[in-house]
């Protein structure tokens, strides 16, 4: 059992940050939220419907970034991005892909094999997929892992823009992400009391 008795709600425009030490269950929480993991007890709801990875409706609204980047080493950056977006059911023109890559500092690397990229560059590629997918719900596991300060600030700006547009994001992170306007909600996995309630908990 990784954690118990956690209860919270997120509204449009919320960017929830999940902090905690290693093994406290941050990644498991994200996997529960996207339906990859089933809770032993309790439920997860999105738009008042129970969440399930099998549900095409829900799958069409979530963008998940896990520990691994979801990119295949033997394919090029552009190929990976296009395939990943096709998988999410969203066709993107090559121009849009190149532009997104440029914004994340990967311009000029479109035809490089992902295998040759650094960890941070792969992370940025995965973020490009999330940004281009246009989904309302972002579930990101350590998105700023291996990113330098400039890239982190750029990501924070995009996160704030997403929240301002009415999207919801749940982000696990080691370090605090600046809210850039709106104070982010924080969940500390190490500090769950018996009731597991977030202070303050608001109903969706």
């Amino acid at each position: 059992m990784v954690f118990a008795a956690l209860s919270f709600a997120a509204r449009p425009g919320d960017a929830v940050q999940v902090r905690g030490s290693n093994g406290s269950g941050k990644s498991s929480l994200l996997r529960l939220l996207c339906g990859l993991l089933e809770p032993a007890r309790g439920e997860v709801r999105w738009r008042r419907r129970a969440v399930s990875a099998r549900d095409a409706g829900f799958a069409g609204e979530v963008a998940y970034l896990g520990h691994a980047c979801g990119m295949t080493g033997e394919l090029t950056v552009l190929e990976n991005l296009r395939f990943a977006l096709h998988l999410t059911g969203r066709a993107c023109t090559e121009a849009a892909c190149r532009e997104a890559l440029g914004q994340l500092g990967l311009a000029g690397r479109e035809n490089e094999h992902v295998r040759r990229l650094s960890q941070g560059q792969r992370r940025r590629l995965a973020l490009a997929r999330v940004l281009l997918s246009g989904r309302p719900l972002w579930l990101l596991d350590e998105p700023c892992d291996a990113l330098d300060d400039g890239a982190t600030r750029a990501f924070e700006a995009r996160l704030a823009a997403h929240a301002a547009d009415g999207g919801v994001a749940v982000v696990t992170t080691h370090r605090d992400i600046a809210g850039q306007g709106r104070e982010p909600r924080r969940i500390d996995m190490d500090a769950l009391d018996d009731a597991g309630e977030l202070q303050p908990a608001r109903r969706a």
Binding site: L37, R54, A56, A59, A68, C69, T72, A84, H86
Partner: protein
């Protein structure tokens, strides 16, 4: 969906081209096993003709079995499998496409090289033709069953468990396939065996992608 299918199959083919060892290892093993038997039993021509069909089929089975662990493992490690599960596309469809691509890359070469092996065993041209047809019908079934075994044992160490689960399930294909070729060699009708192979393929094609998808969900949890 058609646009997606070609894109996804294209991805598989591209990957196969860039991971040549994955694609070739099964083929190499096939030829290796086929070459070992004459060394073991002696070059007696009638004996080789008698065991030829069986040897080719066993070699094909083993070649498929050793290529299985690369079917889903790279995607599990890269995190691509999670994206599959979270895709609005049907998982069964994605799995079916992956198995089809795997067969194109690992199974079809066996179909091409099988007749060569059969000729080495001294099988007659009609028997070789039957072998071609039988391999075309049988190797996809082996890929389908193998994918189920690979998904069930995904993430577990060791390769023997996959073989233990998959090979007993493949016995009918082995029996019908090699009996078809033996019958062809003796000039007997091969219709029943080939129809049975086709029936096995239909059953596997109907059930395996769905069951493999369910097993993949379990593996990613």
């Amino acid at each position: 969906m058609p646009a997606n299918s070609s894109l996804l199959v294209g991805r598989e083919l591209r990957l196969a081209a860039r991971r040549p060892m994955d694609a070739l290892s099964g083929l190499v093993f096939f030829v290796l096993v086929g070459s070992l038997f004459p060394l073991a039993v002696g070059p007696d021509a009638p004996l080789l003709v008698a065991i030829g069909p069986g040897v080719v089929w066993v070699a094909a089975l083993l070649a498929v079995a050793i290529s299985l662990h690369r079917l889903f493992e790279p995607d599990l490690d890269d995190g691509v499998l999670e994206q599959w599960l979270l895709s609005p596309h049907s998982l069964t469809g994605l799995v079916a496409l992956r198995i089809a691509a795997h067969w194109l890359v690992c199974g079809l070469p066996l179909v091409a090289v099988g007749p060569v092996l059969a000729l080495q065993y001294g099988l007659s041209p009609p028997a070789v033709a039957v072998l071609l047809a039988a391999l075309l019908l049988g190797t996809p079934t082996l890929s389908l069953l193998g994918a189920l075994g690979a998904a069930l044992t995904l993430g577990l160490r060791g390769h023997v468990l996959v073989a233990l689960i998959v090979l007993p399930l493949c016995v009918p294909v082995l029996v019908f396939g090699s009996s078809a070729v033996s019958a062809g060699q003796q000039g007997l009708p091969v219709g029943p065996q080939l129809s049975l192979l086709g029936a096995c393929l239909s059953l596997a094609a109907f059930l395996c992608p769905w069951a493999t998808g369910a097993a993949l969900r379990l593996a990613v949890e």
